[in-house]
Amino acid sequence: MTSAEAVLRLEGVSKVYGVDKAAVAALDDVSLTVGAGEVVAIMGTSGSGKSTLLTIAGGLLAPSSGSVTVSGTQIGTLGRRELSRLRRQRVGFVFQDFNLIPGLTALENVALPLELDGVSGGTARSEARRALAAVDMRGRGRSFPDDLSGGQQQRVAIARAMVGERSLILADEPTGALDSVTGDGVLATLRARATDGAAVVLVTHDARHAAWADRIVFLRDGRIADQTSADLPESLLTGRP
């Protein structure tokens, strides 16, 4: 994959907590490239480094060594203000517990990152309406989070994660709080964002949900232990009853 297509590129990323004998490597020499249109799932047991990987990819945590490139910009070279702008403009986060602001309507929640970025109110709202429509939440813009079901709240959170020109969506257990049918709907929504050109990284411990991804990366003790190939032989299913 050329760097032009890569939305996220981690190269030799390590993260060590503590010093000397007490040092623990949460991530150890991880390299990973996620392209536009691709959904990559990260699987691993608790403590395998999944969440650390996601927070480093989103520029919320600096790696101890290695480099992180988002949409062609190496984020280690950025100052605090530039990094925070890149995060707002390029990266969207989706969490297990939605993290919507209760006092704001769905539309206001989705428009918020744009408004924080200085986009005028009218433009932010029209972008937010478009993002809500893309997750099948057209017409629910005036609802407050408490009036929406879990699945609807998560769709609003995905709209917020993709509003504007954000090209990278980082989702940490986005289906963890949802029943299986609603969870599938949320994954279909994330999948559709990738079809529209976003790069999606999905952290999950649920194999059935990871299976929505093009590629699955298995983390173990902070290292990439294994990954599925993007293209699978048809023969895998034949021979099953």
Partner: protein, 184 residues
Amino acid sequence: MSVKMGFLALLDGDSAYGYQLKQEFEARTGGSWPLNVGQVYTTLDRLERDGLVARDRTDDDGHVVFAITAAGHGEVTSWLSTASRAPGSDRSELAVKIALASTLPQVDIGAVIQAHRKAAIEALQELTRAKRADANDLVGELVLEALAFRTEAEVRWLDHAEARILQARRASDDGTFKERKARK
């Protein structure tokens, strides 16, 4: 489930000829169970021999149309109301293989478990792709989802087994350490 019961259940809905049954069977099992033509007619012959279906008529195109008999209807009703358990569910090939492998000192059990986990997840990816391609076909999706949940359960069990084996090995390492210390 057998092809025989599948055909009977389809015929319980409406009479049909062999090729129709093949197509319906394949569509309604989500494409997971392809049949060959020989299998279709052998099955129909046996159902007819057992008095569960009968030749109803020949249609304008010369197809022999089969209909269910009263005995066939009874068979379907009893099949649907009887709980299905997977054959051999008392002894899973996967479980026995992993359990045995975990006792062999020369085997890297983590690698064995990962190989099975990866294969299961790749199968799940294939099922998910088939399901997405099948959108709006509820029956087909349900069959694919049943396979998906079963495969997911396999992965969860593999995760669990790996954690249990690691835990047991750590405990036994500690034991050996303490023993050695005590001997000193």
